[in-house]
Symmetry: D2
C-alpha cells in the first residue's frame, strides 16, 4: 500500500523501514529535515511539508502519525484535517490518551474522515521482532489497512500456539499474528494503556525482588542469615524453566550480565502518562489496583530524595516522642 | 505502693516522677549513675545495683522495667530472676515483642514469679497527660498492681465519655481511666503494637495529604490549577470541627506554625519495630493491611536516596526502549 | 446578613438553622416543597422557586447552594446566572470538584458575578459543633461574607490553642475560629478534597488495626499466641492519653460500645468522589500516595465479593501448578 | 547416580521420572504405599520404610526429600539423621523456610552430614521442560551432586542466550543450564522464596490489568467510553512482540481461550508461605516492597467476603455522616 509516515524519530523511522521492507511505499515527513533525508536514503519518498505529504498520496490517503502524544499529535491532526478529503484515514500510532481518540474520531467523522488509533508495543526491538498492535477504529477502515498491520506485526514466529485456539473455530486469526482490532476508536490506545500499566507492575515486581536479593548482604543482618547473592546468575537461571520467565526478565538478565551493580543507572525513573491514565481508568470503574498504583508511585518516589510527607512524619515524631531523625 | 523503676531514661524517669507525685515510693536504678542521682534528688530511693534494688524492696517485690526492648530488657530479666523470690512481679513497661512476653511469662511462672507486660503510649507528654496503658498478665497480679496503673493513667479528664458506655452496665471501668487489662501475658504489648501500627498509618495519611497540598504550587501544573496554600492555617482549621481532628494533627499544626516548610526536618524517618511486627501479625492472621504496610515502607524508603529497585527499573527501560534516565 | 439556602436536605437545613440561630435571615428553597415548609416553620422565609428566591433577596444577593455535586449544582448555577445581577454571589457549599469551581468562577466573572466555593466538614454533628470551612474565592467577596462564616464556624471552643500561634503575630485569626480563606476559586474545595482523602486514609488505618486485633482470636494461630481481645475497651482506652486519639476514634469507640461485633454493618463501603479526585491530584503533581490510594481501593474492594483479578490469579495458579481453589 | 526420592506426590514422582530418564537409579519411598508401587512400575526401586531406603543406597547416600514444608519435612530429616552415616547427603527439594535450612545444616554438620536445599520452579510442567533450580549448600557437596542437577535442569534449550554472557569469561555456566549454586545452606530456598514473591507480584499485575479491561464494559461509564473488549484476543496479542510477554501470560492466554469469563474459577486464592516470608525478609532488610506486599494481601482479601476492617469503615461513616451502606 501507499501511506505516509509522519514523525521519523526512532519509532517512526523503524516503522517506515519495516513497511518498506514489506513492499509498501512510504512517504516520509518530519519537522526535522535531516530525518526526512535519512529515510529517503533508505527508499522512502521525501515530503517537504504536510501539504506535500498530502499531494504525494492518492485517495484514500493514509497518514500514519508517529509523534509525541499531546500537542504535536493534536496540531498535526488539525492541519491534516484541513487538506484531507472524504475517505482519507488518519492513524495515530503514538501513545495518545484514549479519550482524545474518542473525541477526534467524532470530529473527523463529521468531515467523513476516518480515525484509527494504534497502540504499539515492541520498543526499539520492534523493527526486527515486529510490533504488537492494538487497534481501535471502525471495522471497514481497519480491514482496509490490514496489509499494513500484517507487515508490521511479528507474525506467528517461533512462539508456541495457545492450545485452546487450535481446537476452536471462529477465533480472530489476527491475534496470533500479533495485532487485534480491539474495538471502536479509542479501544486500541485503551488496551495499550492497560498494557503499559501492567508493564509498570511487572517491572516493579522484578525490581523489588532484586532489591531484596541485594539487601540480603547487609551487615545489619545476623551473620548466618546474610548471603552474597550473584544477581546476574539468578536473573539468568530464572530465564530457564521458571514460572517467572519473561521478556522483561531477559532484559534484566542482559543488563545485570553487563554490570551486576547496574552502576550506569542512578534510578531516577520517569513515566510516560499511561500509568497515570491506567489508575484513572481503574478508578472510573471502581476496580482496586494496589499493585499497578504502587508501581507508578514508586516511579514518582524515585525522582525526589525526600518527600514533604517524610518531613511531616519527622515533625510529628519529634512532637510526640522527641525523636530526632536518623543520621545520614 | 513500693516499687522499683529500672531504667531512668526520659520515659522511666517521668514514670517514676508521676508515681512519686501519686504517693508511691520508688526505688530507682539505671546503668548510668547520674540518672540515679537525678531521680534521687526528686525523692526516689537510690539503688546501686540490681541486687541493691531487690534488697530495698519488701515482698512481693515489684520491678518496673523501662528499658530498650531486646537485649537490655532480656538481660535484666535474667539477672532479676536470679534474686527474685516466689510472688515477686516483673513488669516490662518497654516496647517488647509480644512473643518474648509469652515466653518470659512461662519461664518466670516455673519459678512462681509473675510477669506483666505494659504497653505505654503518651510519649514525652505522658508525665503531664498520664499514660495510656495496655496490660497483659494474670488477673490477680494485674489487680494487685491497680494502684500503680491508676496513678499513671490519665483518668477521665476532660475527654467526653462514650455515650453507649454510660447506658450499659458491666463495662470494665478501667478503660475510661486510660488503662485496660487486655489479656494474658503478651496481650498488653500486642495491643500496643497494633496501636503503633495504626499510628504509622495515621501519620502517613496526614503526611501524604500535606504533600499533595504543598505540591499544588508546582509550576508544572496549569496556571489556573495551581494554588499557593498556607499549610499552617490548613492544619489549624482542620483541628476545629473537622472529621480528621486528632492529637497527631495538633502536633502537626504546632510544627507547621513554627515553620511552614518544616525545614528543621530532612525527612529520614526511623521505625521502632512495632510497625514490622504489626505486619507480621497481620500476615499470620491472613489479614490484608495495605495501608499499614505502605506506611511502614514509606519509612524505609525515606532512608535511602535511590533503591536498587529503582536502578533495575531504569535498566529495563533502557533495555526495551532506549530510555535514558531523567536528569537530576 | 440576608441570604438564601438552596437545598434543604440534612446538611442544608442544619446550616440554615445555625445561621438563623446566629441572627441571620434565611430564604429557604428546595425542589421538595415539604422541606421548605419545615424550615419555614423554624423561622426561614419560604421561596417557591429559584426566581422567587432571587426576588426575596436584596442586592447583592447571596445564594448558598447545598446540593449534590454534579448535575444538580451545575443546573442550579446555570439557572441562577440567568436572574443574577452584577455583584450577586453564588456560594457552592457542596462537594464540587475543584476544577468545576475554577471553570464556573471564570464564567460567572464574565457576568460580574462572584463565585465562592466552601468545603465543609463536620457531618451531621456540625449543627452543634459548628462547621470547619475551607473557602475559595476572591478576597473582597470572602471578606464580605465573613459574618456568615463566623456564625457557621465552631470558634475557638475548648480546643487548646496551638502554642506557636500565640507567640507569633500576623497569623490569620480565622483559622483558629475554624475557617480559612484558602485561595482563589477552587482552593476551598481542593483543600476539602485532600481533607477527605486524608480521612479515607485515617479510617482505613484504624480499620486495619481493629481487623488485626479481631483476627488474633483465630484458631489457626498457635494457642498461646491467640488472644480474645475486647475491642470496645481497646478503642476506649486509646481515647485516653494515647498518640492515636482522634475524633474518628471517638466514633469507633461509640460504635463498638454499642455492638462489639459491629453486626449492624455488613461492610460495603461507598465513596463520595473526593478520594478519587485526591488520587488524581496527587498524580498530576507526581506525589506518591500509597496510603491514600490503598484506602480508596479498600472501599472499591469491599463492594464485590470477588474481583475478576482474583479469578485471573486462580486460573494462572491452576495453569502452572494444577492448584485448585481453596474451599469456601 | 544412585539416590532416593522421598515423597512421591506429583512433584516428587515427576522428579524421579526425569532422573530415571536421565540414567540415574532411584529408590522411591512415600508414606502412601500405592505411590511407591506406581513409581516402581516405572523403573524405580521400591523401599518400604525410611530404614529400607537407607539400606538400599550405598555411601555416601543421597536422600532427595520432596515433602510438604514444615512438620513432614522436619520429621523425616530427624528420622534420617538417626540412620545416616558421615558423608551422607540430605537434599530438601521442597519449599522450606530458609531459616530452617540454616538451622538444619548446622545440626547435620555436627554429625558430619551434608544438607543441601534446592528451590525448584517449574510446576507441573517441569517433567517436560526441566526444573529451574536454586541450590544452597557447601561447594563440594553441590559439585558432587552436579549430575543430578544437570539431568533435572532444562538446559540451554531454545531460549536465546544473554548477549553479555557470550562475551565474558568466568561466568558460572550452570546458570545457562537452568540451575545455580546460590550460596551456603538456605541460599537456595531464599532465592526461590524471592522468586515466588516476584511471581505473586507479576500475577497480580496481570490480574489487575485484566480486571480493568473487563470493567470497561460497565454500564456506569459514559456510553462512548465503554468498550466490550475481547480478553482472549488481548492476552493472545500481548504474547506476540509486546514488552509484557511472559510464561505467566501464556498461561493466562490459554485459560482465557478456554473460557473468557474464567467461570471455572471463583477467585479464592491461597498462598503457600513464600509470599509472607518474602515480606518478612524485606522488612528485615528495610526494603520497601509495596507491590509484592499488595500482591500477597490481594490473596488474603480474596478469601473473605468482607473484612472486619470494612465493617469498621461503615460504622465510622454512619457515625460522622449518618451514611448507610450501599445496597448489595
Amino acid at each position: 500500500m501507499h501511506l505516509a509516515v509522519i514523525g521519523l524519530g526512532r519509532m517512526g523511522a523503524n516503522i517506515a523501514r519495516r513497511l518498506m521492507r514489506g513492499g509498501h511505499t512510504v512517504v516520509g515527513f518530519d519537522r526535522n529535515p535531516p530525518l526526512i533525508e535519512a529515510i529517503a536514503g533508505e527508499g522512502a519518498i521525501a515530503a517537504s511539508s504536510l501539504e506535500d505529504v498530502a499531494a504525494k498520496l492518492a485517495s484514500p490517503r493514509i497518514f500514519w502519525l508517529m509523534l509525541p502524544a499531546g500537542q504535536a499529535t493534536e496540531d498535526t491532526i488539525q492541519t491534516l484535517t484541513g487538506f484531507a478529503e472524504p475517505g482519507d484515514i488518519i492513524i495515530d500510532g503514538g501513545n495518545s490518551f484514549y479519550k482524545d481518540d474518542i473525541r477526534r474520531a467524532k470530529e473527523l467523522q463529521q468531515k467523513s474522515l476516518h480515525y484509527v488509533d494504534v497502540g504499539t508495543s515492541g520498543g526499539v526491538w520492534g523493527r526486527e521482532r515486529g510490533y504488537c498492535m492494538m487497534i481501535g477504529g471502525d471495522k471497514a477502515t481497519v480491514a482496509l489497512l490490514d496489509p499494513i498491520f500484517s507487515t508490521l506485526s511479528p507474525g506467528l514466529g517461533t512462539i508456541p500456539r495457545t492450545p485452546a485456539r487450535l481446537e476452536q473455530e471462529g477465533e480472530d486469526p489476527r491475534a496470533e499474528q500479533g495485532y487485534i482490532h480491539a474495538g471502536p476508536a479509542g479501544a486500541g490506545h485503551f488496551v495499550k494503556m492497560v498494557h503499559n500499566g501492567i508493564e509498570y507492575g511487572l517491572m516493579q515486581a522484578y525490581a523489588e525482588g532484586f532489591d531484596i536479593l541485594k539487601g540480603r548482604a547487609s551487615d545489619r543482618l545476623p551473620e548466618d542469615e546474610r548471603f552474597e547473592l550473584n544477581l546476574t546468575d539468578i536473573a539468568e537461571v530464572w530465564r530457564r524453566g521458571s514460572v517467572i520467565s519473561s521478556w522483561l526478565l531477559d532484559l534484566t538478565a542482559a543488563a545485570l550480565a553487563k554490570d551486576q551493580m547496574l552502576s550506569p543507572f542512578s534510578g531516577r525513573v520517569s513515566d510516560s502518562g499511561e500509568g497515570q491514565w491506567t489508575v484513572d481508568a481503574a478508578m472510573e470503574e471502581a476496580v482496586p489496583i494496589n499493585v499497578l498504583s504502587a508501581a507508578l508511585f514508586a516511579r514518582y518516589r524515585s525522582r525526589v530524595e525526600h518527600t514533604f510527607a517524610d518531613q511531616v512524619l519527622s515533625a510529628m515524631r519529634f512532637g510526640f516522642g522527641g525523636h530526632v531523625e536518623m543520621p545520614q
